[in-house]
């Protein structure tokens, strides 16, 4: 509309305006009947309104793509030593396009570009799988406990109370020392720690959900209890669980990095961001800052993205602010 036209009155002498109105009528005729917005559409809209969360999602997507396919561009494998540089890493090992070490080389002369990609993969996998394990176990446990109620509930929750007082950090390290350092053990170890709080949250939600009509209807129709939990209770918990899970992923990545930093995490030739950061900090006094910089940049970026995405999801799925 032209600047001089009042917002509500349409100037019918103007052919462009007439065209617009015709078009509008046409559009109205073709328009689909009004559709209700589902919870998910609503949440998606709210999520994408949050700029920080959307930007984080994009950046994280790029990092995931880079970690998945960046290896195709690497000129060097992640476990091969570039013998030509040995002993002169600080002078010759810096990032360079010509010799194919885009991120430089590490202390032993291995290509840091390939190593960083590998570390990203492992850290992201640990984050996602660890969170998935914790959320899966916690949700099932919490929903069963809450739905069963009564004595079963109080026993199950006492168990959670007792277990959450155990300092798991030690148990995880013990597990790694005793059963050998492997990624599976890290999953089990960090997954073990985090299902407890998930179980608590889910149980609280279940307690209120099981009073609702659709659960009563299912009960009246004789649906077996476990099926009610899986088919009726858990789908209604998805919002809470997704938010919790998304906040758990960075925790997992951090936990894995701490363990790897201490040297009891993943083993060579595998690597993770914690290992690379640890190696980078050990050598930074020789001026090889790229060995710390690249892994650290990815690490911080990934954490930042997950924190913002988690926040965005919480805002989008929280029925309180609607």
């Amino acid at each position: 509309m032209a600047g001089s036209t009042p917002r509500l009155g349409i100037d019918m002498r103007n052919p462009i305006e007439i065209k617009k109105v015709e078009q509008m009528a046409e559009n109205l005729a073709k328009m689909d009947p009004v559709k209700g917005r589902s919870l998910w559409q609503d949440a998606r809209k709210r999520f994408f309104k949050n700029r920080a969360a959307t930007a984080s999602l994009v950046v994280l997507g790029l990092i995931v793509l880079f970690s998945a396919f960046g290896g195709l561009f690497a000129k060097w494998p992640n476990d091969e030593i570039d013998w030509s540089m040995l002993g002169q890493i600080a002078e010759m090992g810096q990032p360079s396009i010509q010799n194919g070490h885009y991120f430089g080389v590490d202390e032993l002369g291995r290509d840091l570009f390939a190593r960083t990609i590998q570390a990203n993969q492992i850290s992201l996998i640990v984050g996602f799988v660890g969170a998935a394990v914790a959320v899966f176990v916690g949700t099932l446990y919490g929903a069963i406990s809450g739905y069963a109620g009564g004595r079963v509930d109080s026993v199950m929750m006492r168990i959670v109370d007792i277990l959450s007082a155990v300092p798991y950090f030690f148990i995880v390290i013990l597990l790694l020392v005793v059963f050998g350092r492997s990624i599976i053990m890290i999953f089990v170890g960090i997954g073990l720690v985090n299902w407890l709080s998930c179980a608590r949250i889910v149980r609280g939600q279940t307690l209120s959900l099981k009073q609702r009509e659709f659960v009563q209807a299912a009960q009246a129709m004789g649906v077996p209890p476990f099926k009610i939990v899986v088919r009726h209770i858990i789908p209604n918990l998805i919002g809470v669980v997704i938010v919790y899970g998304s906040l758990l992923v960075p925790e997992m990545i951090l936990a894995e990095s701490v363990i790897s930093f201490l040297g009891v995490g993943v083993q060579e030739p595998q690597t993770s961001l914690g290992v690379l950061i640890s190696e980078g900090t050990a050598t930074m006094q020789y001026g090889t800052f790229w060995q710390l910089g690249f892994p650290l940049a990815f690490f911080t970026l990934i954490l930042f993205c997950f924190f913002y995405i988690g926040d965005g999801l919480r805002d989008a799925l929280d029925p309180k602010d609607r």
Binding site: I171, V177, V264, T300, L303
Partner: protein, 307 residues
């Protein structure tokens, strides 16, 4: 109050028992005992050594002896690796160091964190507020194992002001960097928590009433708003304590401070089970005790809580 202490203690006992049983079983299911080495010991010698450490007895009896030793004499047994040292001696060396910089970091992060949070809340949407929020975001993604080396780089290698490691009997120069590295991220999270809860409290009716009465703003904040706003922070203190212990292991690794973490990680590489178990139990017990204290403080600050 008494009821609460009783109930918490009742939960603490099975927790400690689980801790003992799990660590014990884990240790004994491990392939390769503490005396396996590249040159295998003659069987007679091995039998003698195992008899000396009580490893030839049935497992439940070993566990029983271990627990009885701890409960009656606070004796965590001998180290399996260093023949002339007991686990207690290792505690005596490592624990004071861990506690010194741990306590300092804890106090520092709580005091500064609360102060920053309150300041940011009462100056909402000014540069102080933005700076605090930015600081807390940044500190969240720079965990202490990144913070430590960066501090060393700046203050030791570039500026040369402070030593980059060691303990040296706890001279202050040696404590500064570990304390900063350990406390920054908790300081940031406490500041963030304090800021948001303070903002919420400042919206409430009793604050409006207090202001309407013409009370000076400082009294409103310190006498009326601070206590209820502290509640989420107090709940957070339990986890902070646990993370501090975890963090102290990293600090020991970075700054070679020689705290318990150093012995624990060393023991993990040497398969020195006695030391690992001892450290796990001692710090586990401390954690459980600390959580009880936090609960008590919570009950004292918030009179609405009924146990």
């Amino acid at each position: 109050m008494f009821n609460l202490i009783l109930r918490r203690t009742l939960v603490a006992i099975p927790t400690l028992l689980i801790l003992i049983v799990v660590t014990f079983l884990l240790m004994h299911s491990a392939p390769g005992g503490p005396f396996t080495s590249e040159k295998p010991l003659p069987p007679e010698v091995l039998a003698r050594v195992e008899a000396k450490y009580g490893l030839d007895q049935p497992l439940p009896l070993q566990m029983w002896n271990y627990v009885v030793g701890i409960v009656t004499e606070f004796d965590f047994g001998p180290s399996f690796r260093y023949k002339d040292r007991t686990v207690n001696e290792i505690f005596a060396q490592g624990l004071p160091i861990t506690l010194t910089y741990g306590t300092l970091s804890f106090v520092l992060s709580v005091v500064v964190g609360v102060f920053l949070g309150v300041w940011a809340a009462i100056r909402q949407n000014t540069w102080i507020d933005y700076l605090t929020v930015a600081f807390s975001m940044l500190a969240q993604v720079l965990p202490n194992f990144v913070m430590g080396p960066i501090l060393i780089l700046i203050f030791t290698l570039w500026l040369g002001w402070l030593p980059g490691g060691g303990w040296n009997g706890g001279q202050w120069q040696y404590i500064v960097l570990p304390v900063i590295a350990l406390s920054t991220s908790f300081m940031a999270s406490i500041a963030r928590l304090m800021r948001s809860s303070m903002l919420e409290v400042l919206q409430s009716n009793f604050i409006r009433t207090a202001r309407a009465k013409g009370m000076p703003e400082s009294t409103v904040i310190l006498r009326h708003a601070l206590k209820p706003a502290m509640l989420p922070v107090i709940t957070y203190l339990g986890p902070v304590f646990v993370y501090m212990i975890t963090g102290s292991f990293i600090i020991d690794a970075i700054f070679s401070t020689g705290g318990l973490g150093y012995y624990f990680i060393n023991a993990a590489f040497n398969r020195d089970y006695a030391v690992m178990m001892g450290v796990t139990l001692l710090l586990g017990g401390l954690t459980i005790f600390f959580n009880l204290v936090v609960d008590l403080i919570y009950g004292w600050v918030d009179p609405q809580i009924r146990y």
